[in-house]
């Protein structure tokens, strides 16, 4: 069968009234939980799982997948409006998205996020259909040395995306990595910095830290500047894109989609790296990098496209190899297995209606998301009319309840409060939250892969350079680091001489 025939067959499955309905249900629910910080797609999907067993396997998969990529859509909303990243992949969206909102361009930011995501979602779905198996084989060649190199590259990207001084950026990343290493060391079983608290055994969660460092700090800083009197973000501005916006953003969307599609296939952290890498790239290729961090539309368009593309292509390992690439994919794999379908290469041939039906539903779902979300943008932006003295207690309550529902744990609420204070000190001393959070995510992954690679190679560090993919990634990291360091060092020296 040709691609067109297969896709048409897929549409005939996905476009039945009940499948359309469940697709709509999934993406709507996904948007809702994506907008609410804390509660993520994992919890929602597992809550709904028992109800889906009564459904046809294709229908249930269509809905569950919709929740997942719908949540990626919703995640950008709070990041742009109130500087609150609900998930790791929307951390970078805060950087320029929130600045755009402060300049009265929230509508534009939300629109480009939605359109970029739509484009990325459609491309991502086609990538699964066309090159799924090929890309899956590429991802399968990744082992610990490659992952280690990828993590190093990610950390260097975090340095590149930081605004202020290089030294502060490195400090923020290192502090994040350190915090990320708290917990029981998986390799040796030794407890590190847990003080005998079982709550710390699994380490410090990303969401409570992000809510503290971004959400709470933002409230505290806003209030100390204004005493809550001024209406923050009161201008609404236009919702649609100007010709200039489009001209600036479309390349970012294309590049972001490409990066996201590629990194999304890799298990563990791939999707997060996608959004960070896209931001770092946009800043590097921009003719005027100084605009970044002050409301550059490329800084929203690129990462948002990247994370949605990654959300689609992260299905590839599951659908073509039967290997789940993250927790949500493991959950979907469970859902398929409970229905008596063993995910793997056979699915494409033995259950074509399932494979192509799902892909067709992704195309439909992404369209539905834009249809749902575009009219919502007007409403979201109106929220910014609400006086800040009303808005901030609302944000705080949503943060508290959201963090609690993550694991039904009071401890996580305390962690959020603690990192609010820590984040405030970081903010005042010129250390940024985004590199800190990236360090937190990548630190433990980097350690795990470094130690495993060294164990497997019996202590021979040459594996990192003799394996081609790892060598190339490390080379890119070194070059990127050099590009970041050289201007900054010369700038610092220039400044020092001026002072003298």
């Amino acid at each position: 069968m040709t691609l067109v025939e297969s896709l048409l067959a897929g549409f005939s499955v996905a476009a039945t009234p009940s499948n359309l309905l469940f697709c709509l249900l999934g993406v709507t629910l996904g948007t809702l939980i994506g907008v609410l910080p804390g509660l993520g797609p994992t919890a929602t999907i597992s809550l709904l799982l028992p109800f889906t067993f009564g459904l046809d396997p294709v229908t249930s998969l269509i809905m569950l997948a919709g929740i997942y990529y719908g949540a990626q859509y919703g995640g950008s909303t709070t990041a742009i409006l109130i500087n609150l990243p609900g998930e790791a992949s929307s951390v970078v969206t805060c950087l320029d998205g929130y600045q755009m909102a402060r300049q009265g361009r929230a509508g534009t930011a939300l629109t480009i996020a939605a359109l970029g995501s739509l484009f990325a979602g459609i491309v991502g779905s086609f990538v699964i259909a066309l090159w799924g198996p090929v890309l899956a084989d590429f991802a399968r060649g990744f082992s610990s040395p490659e992952y280690f190199a990828l993590m190093v590259l990610g950390l260097v990207a975090a340095i590149v995306l930081a605004q202020g001084s290089l030294l502060n950026a490195i400090a923020a990343i290192m502090m994040g990595m350190f915090i990320g290493l708290i917990g029981i060391d998986r390799t040796s079983g030794v407890a590190r910095y847990t003080f005998g608290q079982p709550e710390l055994f699994d380490g410090i969660g990303f969401v409570p830290v992000a809510m503290g460092v971004f959400g709470l700090v933002e409230i505290a800083v806003n209030l100390e500047q204004t005493q809550g009197k001024r209406q923050v973000l009161s201008q609404v501005g236009r919702l649609w894109l100007t010709r200039d916006d489009v001209a600036k953003a479309y390349r970012a969307v294309l590049r972001g989609t490409g990066i996201g599609c590629l990194l999304g296939i890799l298990p563990g952290g791939g999707a997060v790296l996608g959004s960070f890498a896209s931001y770092a790239l946009e800043r590097r290729v921009s003719r005027d990098p100084a605009r970044f961090g002050h409301g550059a539309i490329e800084g929203v368009a690129g990462p948002e496209s990247a994370n949605n593309a990654a959300a689609q292509t992260s299905f590839i390992p599951l659908l073509t190899l039967g290997i789940p690439s993250n927790g949500i994919m493991a959950l979907l794999m469970g859902a398929m297995m409970v229905q008596g379908i063993a995910p793997g290469p056979e699915v494409m041939t033995s259950r074509p209606e399932l494979f192509w039906g799902l892909i067709a539903s992704m195309l439909i779902g992404n369209l539905l998301l834009v249809v749902i979300n575009l009219p919502m943008i007007g409403i979201w932006v109106k929220l910014l009319h609400v006086p800040y003295r009303i808005l901030f207690p609302t944000i705080l309550i949503v943060c508290c309840v959201g963090v609690y529902t993550l694991n039904n744990s009071i401890f996580e609420v305390v962690v959020m409060a603690g990192f609010g204070v820590f984040g405030y000190a970081m903010r005042k001393s010129g250390c940024e939250g985004a590199p800190f959070l990236l360090g937190l995510i990548l630190g433990p992954l980097m350690e795990e892969h470094l130690r495993r690679a060294m164990l497997i190679s019996f202590g021979d560090p040459s594996v990192f350079v003799t394996r081609p993919v790892s060598a190339v990634l490390l080379l890119i990291a070194v070059l990127l680091f050099a590009f970041a360091v050289i201007p900054s060092v010369s700038l610092m020296r220039a400044k020092t001489f001026e002072e003298d």
């Binding site: 994992t42 919890a43 999907i45 597992s46 809550l47 799982l49 028992p50 067993f53 399968r140 060649g141 990744f142 082992s143 610990s144 029981i184 998986r186 390799t187 040796s188 079983g189 030794v190 407890a191 847990t194 005998g196 079982p198 709550e199 710390l200 055994f201 699994d202 298990p267 563990g268 039967g322 290997i323 789940p324 690439s325 927790g327 949500i328 493991a330 959950l331 469970g334 297995m337 409970v338 229905q339 008596g340 063993a342 995910p343 793997g344 290469p345 056979e346 694991n407 039904n408 744990s409 795990e448 495993r452 164990l455 497997i456």
Partner: protein, 323 residues
Amino acid sequence: MLRNVLLAVAAACIGVSAASAQGAGANFPSKPIRVIVPFPPGQSADIIVRLLADKIKKQSGATVVVENKPGGNAIIGASEAARARPDGYTLLMAGTTAMSAAASMNANLPYDPVKSFTPVTGVALNSYVLVVKPDYPANSVQDIVELARKSPGKLSFGSGNQSSRMAAELFKTMTGVELLHIPYQGTEQAMSDLVNGQITMMFNGVMTSNPYLKRKDLKALGVSSQAREPELPDVPVIGDTVAGYSFIAWQGLVAPAGVPRETVATLNRLFTDALKDGEIYARLNGLGMTVWPVSQEELGKVIAEDKVKWRMLVTKAGIPVVQ
């Protein structure tokens, strides 16, 4: 005077609790039963309880609600269950992780797997299969043992969780071979590295291995259970080569210690009825597990035996104990 008041209050309390205990026996359950799952949503333990809750609702009308309390390798959820009121309305989805592993690897566990809980019923069993790459020059458990003897410490095994590691540690202790342990966070990456030839072998759950075995990405050398697995009829039992070897991970429901006998009996009936249902049997098989609807006594026996066996293994393998 004060003493009289206290006595009266105490008597009233006893009266009330006796009445409520009686009431519990007669029309238990009169409110929703809460099952604490010490894992995040979506893990097999969580899915099983949600499946059972659904089935029980249909069979008897009783409501079972799931409460996820993940963290600390299941210790957080288990501690909360151990502290709960022993009225039968709070249960813990226990298993090898919360009971055997936690008890043997933590010096200061806030509960005792035997003393803090009343066993209610077994739920599911999961046995392991020893897998290697298809072109690996070993076709039996015997071959692996010989290869490992020839080059001690050069053959490696991966593990994605503590049970998988323990299955291998038990194999090491019983055969006396030296194997290099490569730990992973979860099974998927370990399987991928195994297929790529980064690691030599792995003890992995039967069902997660099955798709790999079917498409000949891996080959099976032996199963960890005492009898051959219905899913893998051609794979011999490891115990045939290594006399006395057997390793099975289990999941079961327990209540805080001190739940009245008749309440436990009611709960056991409620859950075993659901487990014996054909649909649940098939769903659990789909997840790679065998249903295990056994009496509270049998579950209690397994918990006690495991505690001893795991502690011995942890000491022998030199696994550090969390202080």
